[in-house]
Symmetry: C2
Subunit: 113 residues, 2 copies
Protein backbone atom coordinates (compact mmCIF):
# COMPACT_ATOMS: atom_id res chain seq x y z
CA UNK A 1 0.00 0.00 0.00
CA UNK A 2 1.91 2.98 -1.18
CA UNK A 3 0.42 4.84 -4.08
CA UNK A 4 1.25 7.52 -1.59
CA UNK A 5 0.58 10.76 -3.39
CA UNK A 6 -2.82 9.50 -4.46
CA UNK A 7 -5.50 11.84 -3.15
CA UNK A 8 -7.95 9.09 -2.33
CA UNK A 9 -5.30 7.19 -0.43
CA UNK A 10 -4.30 10.16 1.66
CA UNK A 11 -7.84 10.65 2.87
CA UNK A 12 -8.45 6.96 3.49
CA UNK A 13 -5.16 6.54 5.29
CA UNK A 14 -6.13 9.20 7.77
CA UNK A 15 -9.57 7.81 8.48
CA UNK A 16 -8.53 4.20 8.63
CA UNK A 17 -5.88 4.49 11.29
CA UNK A 18 -7.01 2.93 14.56
CA UNK A 19 -9.26 5.38 16.40
CA UNK A 20 -9.01 8.40 14.15
CA UNK A 21 -12.50 8.36 12.71
CA UNK A 22 -14.02 8.03 16.15
CA UNK A 23 -11.76 10.72 17.57
CA UNK A 24 -12.65 13.13 14.81
CA UNK A 25 -16.31 12.37 15.33
CA UNK A 26 -16.21 12.98 19.06
CA UNK A 27 -14.23 16.17 18.74
CA UNK A 28 -16.66 17.54 16.19
CA UNK A 29 -19.27 16.63 18.76
CA UNK A 30 -17.74 18.77 21.44
CA UNK A 31 -15.65 16.26 23.34
CA UNK A 32 -12.42 18.15 23.10
CA UNK A 33 -10.29 17.35 26.13
CA UNK A 34 -7.96 14.37 26.14
CA UNK A 35 -9.31 13.08 29.44
CA UNK A 36 -12.87 13.26 28.16
CA UNK A 37 -11.91 11.55 24.93
CA UNK A 38 -10.33 8.77 26.98
CA UNK A 39 -13.49 8.36 28.96
CA UNK A 40 -15.70 8.40 25.88
CA UNK A 41 -13.59 6.08 23.77
CA UNK A 42 -12.67 3.97 26.75
CA UNK A 43 -11.99 0.81 24.77
CA UNK A 44 -9.00 2.48 23.20
CA UNK A 45 -5.75 2.41 25.16
CA UNK A 46 -4.85 5.79 26.57
CA UNK A 47 -1.40 5.66 25.00
CA UNK A 48 -2.85 5.12 21.57
CA UNK A 49 -5.31 7.98 21.75
CA UNK A 50 -2.60 10.34 22.96
CA UNK A 51 -0.39 9.32 20.09
CA UNK A 52 -3.16 9.67 17.52
CA UNK A 53 -4.14 13.09 18.77
CA UNK A 54 -0.55 14.11 18.22
CA UNK A 55 -0.47 12.61 14.74
CA UNK A 56 -3.72 14.25 13.73
CA UNK A 57 -2.38 17.55 14.92
CA UNK A 58 0.79 17.14 12.88
CA UNK A 59 -1.29 16.27 9.84
CA UNK A 60 -3.28 19.45 10.18
CA UNK A 61 -6.58 17.78 11.01
CA UNK A 62 -6.61 18.97 14.59
CA UNK A 63 -5.46 22.09 16.32
CA UNK A 64 -4.23 21.91 19.86
CA UNK A 65 -4.94 24.54 22.46
CA UNK A 66 -3.02 24.49 25.71
CA UNK A 67 -4.33 26.67 28.52
CA UNK A 68 -1.56 27.70 30.88
CA UNK A 69 -3.62 26.92 33.94
CA UNK A 70 -3.18 24.22 36.49
CA UNK A 71 -4.25 21.47 36.48
CA UNK A 72 -3.16 21.61 32.86
CA UNK A 73 -5.99 22.04 30.39
CA UNK A 74 -5.69 20.96 26.79
CA UNK A 75 -8.27 21.02 24.04
CA UNK A 76 -8.27 19.80 20.49
CA UNK A 77 -10.33 21.38 17.73
CA UNK A 78 -10.93 20.45 14.12
CA UNK A 79 -9.16 22.56 11.54
CA UNK A 80 -10.95 23.36 8.30
CA UNK A 81 -9.46 20.24 6.79
CA UNK A 82 -10.78 18.27 9.73
CA UNK A 83 -14.24 19.81 9.54
CA UNK A 84 -14.49 18.87 5.90
CA UNK A 85 -14.04 15.23 6.80
CA UNK A 86 -17.28 15.24 8.76
CA UNK A 87 -19.67 15.12 5.78
CA UNK A 88 -17.55 12.32 4.36
CA UNK A 89 -17.81 10.38 7.59
CA UNK A 90 -21.56 10.92 7.39
CA UNK A 91 -21.64 9.41 3.91
CA UNK A 92 -19.61 6.47 5.11
CA UNK A 93 -22.03 5.97 7.97
CA UNK A 94 -25.01 6.13 5.64
CA UNK A 95 -23.46 3.50 3.43
CA UNK A 96 -22.67 1.36 6.42
CA UNK A 97 -26.18 1.63 7.82
CA UNK A 98 -27.63 0.61 4.52
CA UNK A 99 -25.43 -2.41 3.89
CA UNK A 100 -24.33 -3.45 7.35
CA UNK A 101 -26.76 -6.35 7.78
CA UNK A 102 -26.13 -7.77 4.35
CA UNK A 103 -22.43 -7.34 4.86
CA UNK A 104 -22.33 -9.03 8.22
CA UNK A 105 -24.38 -11.99 7.05
CA UNK A 106 -22.06 -12.51 4.11
CA UNK A 107 -18.83 -12.32 6.02
CA UNK A 108 -19.80 -14.11 9.21
CA UNK A 109 -20.14 -17.57 7.80
CA UNK A 110 -17.68 -20.32 8.68
CA UNK A 111 -14.43 -19.30 10.43
CA UNK A 112 -15.57 -17.53 13.63
CA UNK A 113 -12.26 -18.69 15.10
Amino acid sequence: MDYSDCSVRIAIDILSVSWNAWLIGEISNGVVRPCDLHRTISVAPKRVLTKQLGELEKMGILEKKVYPVLPLKVEYYLTDAGKELIPILDKLREWGDKYKEEFISKTTDKSEK
Copy 2:
Protein backbone atom coordinates in the same frame (compact mmCIF):
# COMPACT_ATOMS: atom_id res chain seq x y z
CA MET B 1 -9.58 -1.57 16.17
CA ASP B 2 -12.80 -3.41 16.63
CA TYR B 3 -15.87 -1.29 17.17
CA SER B 4 -16.90 -3.79 14.57
CA ASP B 5 -20.61 -3.23 14.14
CA CYS B 6 -20.04 0.49 13.73
CA SER B 7 -21.34 1.59 10.36
CA VAL B 8 -18.55 4.05 9.72
CA ARG B 9 -15.97 1.42 10.53
CA ILE B 10 -17.44 -1.14 8.19
CA ALA B 11 -17.20 1.21 5.25
CA ILE B 12 -13.73 2.43 6.13
CA ASP B 13 -12.47 -1.08 6.69
CA ILE B 14 -13.46 -2.04 3.17
CA LEU B 15 -11.89 0.96 1.51
CA SER B 16 -8.71 0.93 3.54
CA VAL B 17 -7.62 -2.60 2.81
CA SER B 18 -4.62 -2.67 0.51
CA TRP B 19 -5.74 -2.23 -3.10
CA ASN B 20 -9.49 -2.21 -2.64
CA ALA B 21 -10.18 1.44 -3.38
CA TRP B 22 -8.12 1.30 -6.55
CA LEU B 23 -9.72 -1.97 -7.62
CA ILE B 24 -13.20 -0.61 -7.11
CA GLY B 25 -12.26 2.50 -9.04
CA GLU B 26 -10.88 0.58 -12.00
CA ILE B 27 -13.80 -1.79 -12.14
CA SER B 28 -16.27 1.07 -12.13
CA ASN B 29 -14.16 2.40 -14.96
CA GLY B 30 -14.63 -0.65 -17.08
CA VAL B 31 -11.51 -2.64 -16.29
CA VAL B 32 -13.28 -5.80 -15.26
CA ARG B 33 -11.06 -8.79 -16.03
CA PRO B 34 -8.50 -10.00 -13.50
CA CYS B 35 -5.70 -10.00 -16.07
CA ASP B 36 -6.49 -6.42 -17.06
CA LEU B 37 -6.66 -5.35 -13.47
CA HIS B 38 -3.24 -6.89 -12.90
CA ARG B 39 -1.86 -4.96 -15.81
CA THR B 40 -3.46 -1.72 -14.73
CA ILE B 41 -2.55 -1.97 -11.07
CA SER B 42 0.78 -3.53 -11.87
CA VAL B 43 2.48 -2.41 -8.67
CA ALA B 44 0.24 -4.70 -6.67
CA PRO B 45 1.28 -8.34 -6.42
CA LYS B 46 -0.92 -10.61 -8.49
CA ARG B 47 -1.64 -12.87 -5.56
CA VAL B 48 -2.90 -9.97 -3.50
CA LEU B 49 -5.27 -8.66 -6.14
CA THR B 50 -6.69 -12.13 -6.68
CA LYS B 51 -7.27 -12.47 -2.98
CA GLN B 52 -8.87 -9.07 -2.67
CA LEU B 53 -11.20 -9.66 -5.59
CA GLY B 54 -12.37 -12.75 -3.78
CA GLU B 55 -12.86 -10.86 -0.54
CA LEU B 56 -14.77 -8.05 -2.18
CA GLU B 57 -17.00 -10.58 -3.80
CA LYS B 58 -17.71 -12.29 -0.50
CA MET B 59 -18.50 -8.92 1.03
CA GLY B 60 -21.06 -8.19 -1.64
CA ILE B 61 -19.17 -5.30 -3.21
CA LEU B 62 -18.37 -7.19 -6.38
CA GLU B 63 -20.20 -9.75 -8.43
CA LYS B 64 -18.22 -12.35 -10.33
CA LYS B 65 -19.17 -13.58 -13.75
CA VAL B 66 -17.47 -16.65 -15.11
CA TYR B 67 -17.93 -17.33 -18.79
CA PRO B 68 -17.67 -21.04 -19.53
CA VAL B 69 -15.39 -20.44 -22.48
CA LEU B 70 -11.76 -21.26 -22.90
CA PRO B 71 -9.37 -19.65 -22.30
CA LEU B 72 -11.36 -19.00 -19.15
CA LYS B 73 -12.95 -15.59 -18.97
CA VAL B 74 -13.84 -13.96 -15.70
CA GLU B 75 -15.29 -10.53 -15.06
CA TYR B 76 -16.07 -8.62 -11.93
CA TYR B 77 -18.80 -6.03 -11.66
CA LEU B 78 -19.84 -3.66 -8.92
CA THR B 79 -22.98 -4.57 -7.04
CA ASP B 80 -25.32 -1.80 -5.94
CA ALA B 81 -23.41 -1.59 -2.69
CA GLY B 82 -20.22 -1.27 -4.68
CA LYS B 83 -21.60 1.38 -6.97
CA GLU B 84 -22.66 3.47 -4.02
CA LEU B 85 -19.08 3.62 -2.85
CA ILE B 86 -18.06 5.53 -5.97
CA PRO B 87 -19.45 8.93 -4.94
CA ILE B 88 -17.80 8.46 -1.58
CA LEU B 89 -14.48 7.75 -3.22
CA ASP B 90 -15.01 10.91 -5.24
CA LYS B 91 -15.50 12.93 -2.05
CA LEU B 92 -12.38 11.41 -0.58
CA ARG B 93 -10.46 12.34 -3.69
CA GLU B 94 -11.77 15.89 -3.58
CA TRP B 95 -10.68 16.22 0.00
CA GLY B 96 -7.30 14.77 -0.84
CA ASP B 97 -6.80 17.09 -3.80
CA LYS B 98 -7.61 20.06 -1.66
CA TYR B 99 -5.36 19.24 1.28
CA LYS B 100 -2.69 17.03 -0.22
CA GLU B 101 0.03 19.68 -0.50
CA GLU B 102 -0.53 21.03 2.97
CA PHE B 103 -0.67 17.52 4.30
CA ILE B 104 2.52 16.37 2.65
CA SER B 105 4.48 19.41 3.77
CA LYS B 106 3.38 18.88 7.36
CA THR B 107 4.17 15.20 7.52
CA THR B 108 7.37 15.08 5.51
CA ASP B 109 9.59 16.91 7.92
CA LYS B 110 12.37 15.14 9.80
CA SER B 111 12.39 11.33 9.68
CA GLU B 112 12.53 10.47 5.97
CA LYS B 113 14.26 7.29 7.07
